[in-house]
């Protein structure tokens, strides 16, 4: 049986009558020179862990095979780093205990760090080891070891439906009911909601359940398209009508003929273009740029915005007549924070979706990761959640998403958002955070947010500018 050559036991006291307590973390260093591990061993010890060293890879593999209690293996990589890493990748894959790898190297390159991550899903520490970095790394690993998988609900593709709307919350069920009521008509619909709440999904659902379902659904993101292009994109242009018009372009109004034109983020449109849209809606005909001919258009119009259009009208940034043309039926989408347990359903749905897309056999999530997801302020709503799960699925190395797979920067936001503002948090930081949360709840509506916060809307607007919210 192999024996480790150096033993630095943790300072943990054995629990009375229950045998020796298990150290917080067990780390096996691999390398012939004990000096390489001096700092790491000290950090392990300070964190209540145990550090031991095996002089060679072969000796280490024997120890790992005999004892499933190792949490971390920490080899020193030398000249043949790539070959050593490949060998470690194979070894770790064979072990049922799946210890994590923290490689050590002198003057490591970024390339080596990438290979450590790619081949072994490990981390790389430079020798001499930076104690703070080692401490943070070990704490992250120890924290991960404490997490327990939780069961997620089964969300089948059928449940999501063709519109990919995963919801059981009363707020969303009310939205679904409204969709069912308005879809069969040809009424213009205005969808209001914060970023990432699913305005386009709802628009598609209305189209596909309406009388024009066999026609095209043509979305236009008015905020994404540069202002100088939006007119030609909506109404089309003739060849040579302006510099760069090297070909005739059919506009989106024409492309949507017999179907639905979805004008997303209409609140970002300039007043000039708003009047052209109004004319198209009223007259039901358009002109291509560079052509005098009037072209009849037959489209159902659905518009959406995250802006408070009444506020925009009051400020003279949005035409009131256009607003009333668009808001025949108004549908307000709730932010994720008002959708209760929909979050868990959505997590399960996205894990399945991205697991399949990237060929990752991810099946679950840990209690701590789910708790962090539930505590997070989802300013970007479902779109942000989707992105977070996508990245987590991509970086996980086994079948479970853990807290460590969630964004690091959440630590600060969560601390501030939970009301547990640290002793160093400034009053401004707390105020900015609170305003953000209220704005998220109101879907960005300043007037409503001002009412909740009990301040004049001009005061709130000034603070939004001040804090760059």
């Amino acid at each position: 049986m192999s024996q480790p050559v150096t033993v630095m036991l943790s300072a943990a006291e054995p629990a009375s009558g229950a045998g020796p307590a298990r150290p917080a973390i067990r780390v096996l260093g691999v390398g012939s020179d004990p000096r390489s591990f001096r700092e790491l061993a000290r950090v392990v010890e300070n964190e209540g862990g145990a550090f031991e060293r095996a002089p060679t890879q072969a000796a280490a593999i024997r120890l790992l095979a005999e004892d499933a209690g190792w949490d971390v293996v920490a080899p020193v990589l030398a000249d043949e780093a790539d070959a050593e890493l490949s060998a470690w990748a194979e070894t770790l894959a064979r072990l049922s205990s799946r210890p994590r790898l923290i490689a050590l190297a002198s003057a490591p390159s970024v390339g080596l760090a990438l290979r450590v991550s790619r081949l072994c899903a490990g981390e790389l520490l430079a020798i001499p080891v930076d104690r703070e970095r080692a401490r943070l790394l070990l704490r992250r690993l120890m924290s991960a070891a404490d997490e327990r998988p939780v069961a997620l609900p089964e969300v089948s593709p059928e449940m999501a439906g063709t519109h990919q709307m995963v919801a059981q919350s009363p707020a969303m069920l009310a939205v679904a009911a409204t969709i069912a009521r308005v879809a069969p008509s040809t009424a213009t619909v205005l969808i209001l909601g914060a970023s990432g709440t699913g305005k386009e999904l709802v628009a598609r659902a209305i189209h596909q359940n309406g009388p024009r379902a066999t026609g095209p659904f043509v979305p236009v993101n008015c905020a994404a398209i540069p202002e100088n292009l939006l007119e030609s994109e909506l109404f089309g242009h003739e060849k040579g009508s302006f510099t760069g018009a090297v070909a005739r372009r059919i506009g989106r109004f024409e492309r949507a003929a017999g179907g639905t034109l979805f004008l997303d983020e209409i609140g970002d449109m300039s007043l000039v273009l708003q009047s052209k849209i109004l004319r198209a809606v009223q007259e039901r005909e358009i002109e291509r740029m560079g052509d005098q001919e009037l072209i009849p258009v037959d489209v159902r119009l659905i518009a959406a915005t995250h802006h408070d259009l009444r506020e925009a009208i009051a400020q003279g940034r949005f035409r009131e007549d256009l607003y009333y043309r668009l808001a025949v039926v108004t549908l307000r989408l709730p932010p994720l924070s008002e959708r209760g347990n929909d979050l868990v359903l959505l997590v399960a749905h996205f894990i399945r979706e991205f697991g399949e897309r990237y060929g990752r056999p991810v099946r679950g999530i840990t209690d701590r990761a789910l708790e962090r997801l539930q505590r997070h302020d989802w300013l970007g709503n479902v779109r942000e959640l989707r992105s977070v799960i996508e990245r987590a699925v991509l970086i996980t190395t086994d079948d479970t998403l853990r807290s460590e797979h969630l964004p690091d920067e959440w630590g600060d936001r969560e601390a501030a958002g939970s009301g547990e503002a640290g002793p160093t948090a400034t009053l401004e930081a707390v105020e900015a955070r609170h305003i953000s949360r209220v704005l998220a709840q109101t879907g960005g509506e300043i007037a409503e947010a001002a009412r909740i916060l009990g301040v004049h809307r001009n005061t709130l607007a000034r603070k939004i500018r001040e804090y760059r919210l």
Partner: protein
């Protein structure tokens, strides 16, 4: 700009629409863009993934802080030009016409340094005309070579080649070996840009032979790099590897960081071309690390990061590619590198085309707007149209695809860029029937 309560932030595109196209405002316009910031509240909007420079938000505080610097720079530039003119007049008074030409060339270089190619051309051309009247030929050679480089930069390859040819003849007659090397390299650059690789190789080889025979070791690394690039472009990987390897050893020995970064970038592209993606990734990372240690060079960093983005795309890492492209965008905006910015947007558009996302047209339109700026970049405009045509085809818009490809073909043919024209022609031939 006043802080207006409750008003949405002012976007770059709105601000630029307000500014008149007055030359005196150019530095301010540049600062307005360079100090703009992505809208903080935009980050989770669908719009964010289609964000281009026009959708950024004016940072009024940053702009205010930048105004003194903008004025100082504009004033320093004008002051250098005026000094050049006064200096030329003094030389004229002393009857020193060589000094006059040098002063005019110096002023042109000042213009070129801040990206004002058209005014630079006027200075150089004026200097060249005056230099023809001199008994000494060196000033004329210098003027011709400055003009040659400028023409090649502006994609006027035939004009550039003519200038270098004339400078070559004069330099040979004067037995000025260093200027002969310059002329050969310039002719190589013009040929390479047109895709005339055997010609380029021949000019570079001649430059190399002369550099190796004379006391010009510092020139050799750059010429080896150029030869390596030509070999890579014509698909000779072993020759390219050998040349780039030599260029690397020489630039490392001489400590020439700029050449070394270009060499590492070239090696990265070569590895990528050969399917050695991990090695390519290491080369680019190495280049970026060295750049960081050397204190950074925005233009080189953007070039390397663009190639890194392409590599991420090839290996299917779309998220990393997007991150890298956005980093390039930030760099290009902060340093007012509109051509690099156009390259970033062209690549972003290409990615959207591969994903079948019709909204990708936004990036191509923005790229076209950038390359048609105050200093038009014809070659790049052709490249954007080529990619735009391919994009239109990818999203099933054959009519526009055809129009853009034909337009790119016309541009490349007019510029004499045969290899590029052949690539477009192949795409036109492969268009599905209308």
């Amino acid at each position: 700009m006043s802080e207006m309560a409750g008003m949405p932030p002012l976007r770059v595109e709105q601000a630029l629409r307000v500014l008149p196209d007055v030359e005196g405002l150019s530095p301010l316009r540049a600062y307005l863009i360079a100090t703009s910031v992505p809208g903080v509240r935009e980050s989770w909007r669908r719009t964010a993934s289609y964000g281009t420079v026009g959708k950024r938000v004016i940072d009024s505080a940053g702009l205010r802080r930048a105004v003194p610097d903008a004025l100082a720079r504009a004033s320093a530039h004008l002051s250098a030009l005026y000094d050049g003119v006064v200096s030329a007049l003094e030389h004229e008074q002393r009857g020193d016409m060589v000094g006059v030409v040098q002063a005019l060339l110096g002023a042109g270089t000042q213009e070129e340094r801040v990206g004002r190619l058209t005014p630079a051309l006027a200075w150089y051309e004026h200097a060249r005309v005056l230099s023809e009247e001199l008994r000494e030929r060196e000033p004329e050679i210098a003027a011709l070579q400055r003009l040659g480089h400028l023409h090649v930069t502006a994609a006027r390859y035939d004009d550039g080649a003519r200038c270098f040819q004339r400078s070559l003849a004069l330099a040979e007659a004067e037995f000025d070996r260093e200027r002969v090397i310059d002329a050969c390299q310039g002719l190589g650059d013009a040929s390479r840009a047109q895709g005339l690789y055997p010609g380029a190789e021949s000019w570079y080889t001649r430059a190399l032979t002369l550099a190796e025979a004379g006391p010009y070791p510092s020139r050799i690394a750059g010429i080896q790099l150029a030869l390596g690039e030509v070999a890579r472009l014509r698909g000779d990987a072993s020759q390219a590897g050998e040349r780039l390897g030599r260029a690397r050893a020489l630039s490392e020995a001489s400590g020439d960081v700029d050449i070394l970064i270009r060499v590492l970038d070239g090696l990265g592209q070569l590895d990528a071309q050969l399917g050695r993606r991990a090695e390519a990734l290491d080369r680019y990372r190495d280049a970026l690390e060295r750049l960081e240690r050397a204190g950074g060079r925005a233009s080189l960093e953007t070039m390397v990061r663009l190639h890194l983005s392409e590599l991420h795309l090839e290996r299917g890492a779309a998220l990393e590619a997007e991150d890298e492209m956005r980093r390039c965008e930030e760099l290009a905006i902060a340093h007012n590198h509109s051509r690099h910015l156009a390259q970033v947007y062209t690549l972003m558009g290409r990615v959207r085309g591969q994903q079948g996302d019709a909204e990708g047209f936004i990036f191509f339109e923005k790229a076209l707007e950038l390359v048609r700026g105050p200093e038009p970049a014809l070659q790049q405009e052709g490249e954007v149209y080529h990619e735009y045509g391919r994009f239109r085809l990818a999203i099933g818009d054959r009519e526009e695809a055809d129009a853009y490809l034909e337009w790119a073909l016309t541009m490349f043919e007019a510029l004499g860029m045969r290899a590029a024209a052949d690539r477009v022609r192949a795409d036109v031939t492969n268009l599905p029937p209308a």
